[in-house]
């Protein structure tokens, strides 16, 4: 009697989330797959079944291939750079005695709460192509001659996006690692120190293995969010068509009146991100260490 009431209660509690998840996640996803087999305009009520033809054209579309290459390039470089700096900064801020720790923590975190439009505005000042731009100005100061790098155009455009994305993401992940690093008991470091382990050895032998679970989770999380963020950065920062990523290609097709084709691109990106996260999850699997 008691357990029946209990399970009914649990079902009731879970129901809203389950219903919403089904309505707004499962249904649209299924619909994306279905629509990728049809061709229709975004506003047109009629649709024609075209089978796999959207996918056949998609894999021959050089624009799509370039945009997926850009996506992969961004995922790889942004992930490596962000994780490197986030872990190093987190280690420094938790393990070392530095004045103004909290100050740095906040400063690094701020980019994460800014909206993408604000970030685009900030970087338009940083990347201004003449010597009044912040980056060019700094380079000019150190080089002693006028340096005018055209940041947001070819060939520097992808570098500009990488820098902005890393800048935006570091703080969030740094705070995450700081939390898990401070959970590592100080006594472990003390005994390691007594055994003669230096700072670096402590970092690689103690800190990294002990926060590995955290790194794994955030890595999967980060890869998926990079696919989305790359789209937002490209959309708001650079000229259309200059360095398309997967999702911006998808949107451009919708605007060109090819709803089914853009959904086919959506399907490919969906599968791609799904497989990539599974792969990363597999590759980073280690024996979980207990503290």
């Amino acid at each position: 009697m008691r357990s029946k009431g209990r399970s009914r209660f649990i079902a009731l509690c879970v129901a809203p989330a389950a219903i919403l998840f089904f309505l707004f996640m499962v249904m649209p996803t299924v619909n994306v797959f279905r629509m990728s087999l049809f061709e229709r305009g975004a506003y047109s009520p009629t649709e024609t079944f075209v089978g796999m033809s959207n996918f056949k054209i998609l894999f021959k579309d050089t624009k799509f291939i370039t945009s997926m290459q850009n996506t992969i390039l961004l995922i790889v470089t942004v992930t490596i750079i962000t994780f490197f700096f986030a872990i190093v900064f987190a280690a420094i801020l938790t393990r070392e005695k530095i004045k103004g720790q909290n100050f740095f923590r906040i400063v690094f975190y701020i980019p994460n709460i800014l909206s993408i439009v604000v970030i685009a505005g900030i970087f338009s000042a940083i990347y201004k192509p003449d010597t009044t731009g912040m980056l060019n100005n700094i380079f000019t100061f150190f080089a002693g001659r006028n340096i005018e790098i055209l940041w947001k155009t070819q060939p520097m455009v992808i570098v500009s996006i990488i820098i902005a994305m890393v800048w935006q993401a570091i703080g969030y992940y740094m705070v995450m690692y700081m939390a898990s690093m401070s959970a590592v008991p100080a006594s472990l470091y003390e005994s390691a120190g007594l055994d003669g382990a230096g700072r670096l050895t402590q970092f690689f032998q103690l800190t990294l293995p002990l926060i590995w679970t955290n790194i794994r989770t955030t890595l999967t999380f980060f890869i998926i969010s990079t696919i989305n963020m790359a789209f937002l950065f490209v959309k708001s920062m650079v000229a259309p068509g200059m360095s398309d990523v997967g999702l911006s290609f998808m949107y451009a097709q919708k605007d060109a009146g090819l709803y089914g084709y853009s959904m086919a691109a959506g399907v490919v990106i969906f599968l791609f991100s799904f497989l990539l996260s599974a792969l990363v999850n597999k590759v980073t699997q280690r024996e979980v260490l207990e503290m």
Binding site: E39, K63, M237, L258
Partner: protein
């Protein structure tokens, strides 16, 4: 007790979640069954007499509204006062994102003010998919509150091109709402100071380019590649006249191999060499005004744009003695005519609209003297006869551009069925200009891409 409390909390949570989903009110459509509701109704069937209910107007909030806030509201009120039909106004800068999703769900505004040639291409999609109501009869309608008909007021040159009659069957689907001559904007003060003449031909243009280079000023810049549409239209017209223009805009076979076609590409490619190299780095939604700023700070001489530019840059810092100047595109040969494209914003009715008859009355009303005067306060100029004499300020100079012999160019690239992998006119013709300027793309590659795409566009024309 505890359980009841948590149950209450849980249900409160679920209710509040669901309340969020119920946000979009279902429009009351029961009184007009044939319209838009079911996804199978192909628009044209939905023109029976409908009661003149409130109409939904969706308009792009552009620079005009910024100049005179409340402009659209005032027009709507005037319309209601005249006809008794209420107007629900949706006025947004990103109109496509606001009305797009509900239109996908079958809920259409009755009147839409949104031009062709925008990045999101919503109007083009409505043309391609034949989702617009035929409004040819609006031309012969009497304007509400006046005795004149619409066609007696609208400039005849503005009706009948493929910008209003996209299918070339003599039927009008888009009404010409605002027009604005596009041309090259420059600092007239600088020209006076240096003693330079505004070039009449492209040869003079290149000469000026060299002179300016000696003074560390670049000849050319552009806000974004999107602004090349008006530029390209005017260029094609001035190079080859109306005949070539019509062939080119319908992607006629071999049109890009003709001397005229080659000349167009040559001029743009040469212009790319004279373009301030920072331009492509700023040719995006965030920074385009920095490119316009190049004109104000004498770092580039010419910038293609429309009459809204001085308003857009009103607050921007400028060099001493700065004064706006605007000219048509130079002629190809000495003694030839330059050209200026008339950028036309269209107003149209989706065929799925609920109140097409009332909507038509609204479209007729925008040409009334009352509406014209209200729109003029925002600097929005409508293509009605005698409008030029009503203009004030900079607009007098801008709109007199055709008086000095420049040809007025109206019309757009013909609509073609969307084909996967083909790309839009902007993607094929205009966006690569960035790469031309930064040297990532050669002219030959650009032209051969255009030719290949043109063949596909021609094969898929909506009206063959």
């Amino acid at each position: 007790m505890k359980k009841i409390l948590s149950l209450l909390l849980a249900s409160a949570m679920s209710l509040s979640l669901l309340a969020g989903c119920g946000g979009a009110p279902a429009p009351a459509k029961s009184n007009n069954p044939p319209a838009g509701g079911s996804s199978t109704s192909q628009g044209d069937a939905s023109t029976p007499q409908t009661p003149a209910g409130p109409i939904k107007l969706a308009a792009l909030s552009s620079g005009y509204e910024t100049t005179y806030p409340g402009m659209w509201k005032e027009v709507c009120d005037a319309f209601t006062a005249e006809t008794g039909i209420e107007v629900e106004l949706t006025l947004e800068k990103n109109l496509e994102d606001v009305i797009g999703p509900s239109m996908q769900g079958g809920d259409y505004p009755d009147v839409v003010l949104l031009a062709t040639g925008r990045e999101k291409g919503l109007t083009e999609q409505f043309i391609k998919d034949r989702l617009m109501a035929d409004i040819s009869d609006v031309l012969s309608m009497t304007i509400p509150g006046e005795s004149a008909t619409v066609s007696s007021k609208v400039m005849s040159s503005m009706v009948g091109t493929n910008a209003t009659n996209p299918y070339g069957d003599g039927k009008t689907y888009l009404a010409p709402m605002f027009y604005s001559p596009c041309g090259l904007f420059y600092n007239a003060g600088l020209f006076q100071e240096k003693g330079w003449e505004v070039p009449k031909t492209w040869d003079e243009m290149w000469e000026l380019g060299e002179k300016a280079k000696a003074e560390d000023i670049w000849l050319f810049t552009y806000p974004t590649t999107g602004y090349f549409d008006a530029f390209l239209y005017a260029l094609m017209y001035s190079v080859g006249g109306p005949d070539f223009f019509n062939k080119a805009t319908s992607y006629a076979e071999g049109v890009w191999d003709t001397p005229e076609g080659q000349q167009c590409f040559d001029i743009i490619a040469k212009l790319a060499e004279y373009t301030n190299p920072v331009t492509p780095a700023q040719a995006n939604e965030t920074d385009f005004s920095q490119n316009q700023q190049l004109i104000l700070s004498n770092k580039a001489l010419f910038c293609p744009n429309g009459t809204w530019l001085p308003g857009e840059m009103a607050e921007a810092p400028r060099e001493d003695g700065f004064e706006w100047g605007m000219c048509a595109l130079p002629a190809v040969k000495a003694g030839g005519a330059g050209a200026s494209y008339s950028f036309l914003e269209q107003i149209w009715i989706p065929s799925g609209a609920a109140n097409i008859d009332a909507a038509k009355q609204f479209v007729a009303f925008v040409y009334s003297d009352k509406a014209v005067d209200i729109f003029l306060k925002g600097g929005a100029v409508q293509p009605v006869n005698g409008i030029v004499s009503k203009l004030e300020g900079d607009n007098v100079m801008f709109y007199s551009i055709y008086d000095s012999g420049a040809s007025a160019v109206v019309g757009i690239f013909s609509a073609y069925e969307s084909v996967a992998g083909l790309g839009t006119v902007r993607e094929v013709f205009l966006d690569p200009v960035n790469a031309l300027v930064s040297g990532q793309l050669t002219k030959d590659q650009w032209v051969s891409d255009i030719k290949a795409a043109s063949d596909q566009m021609r094969a898929n024309l909506v009206v063959k």
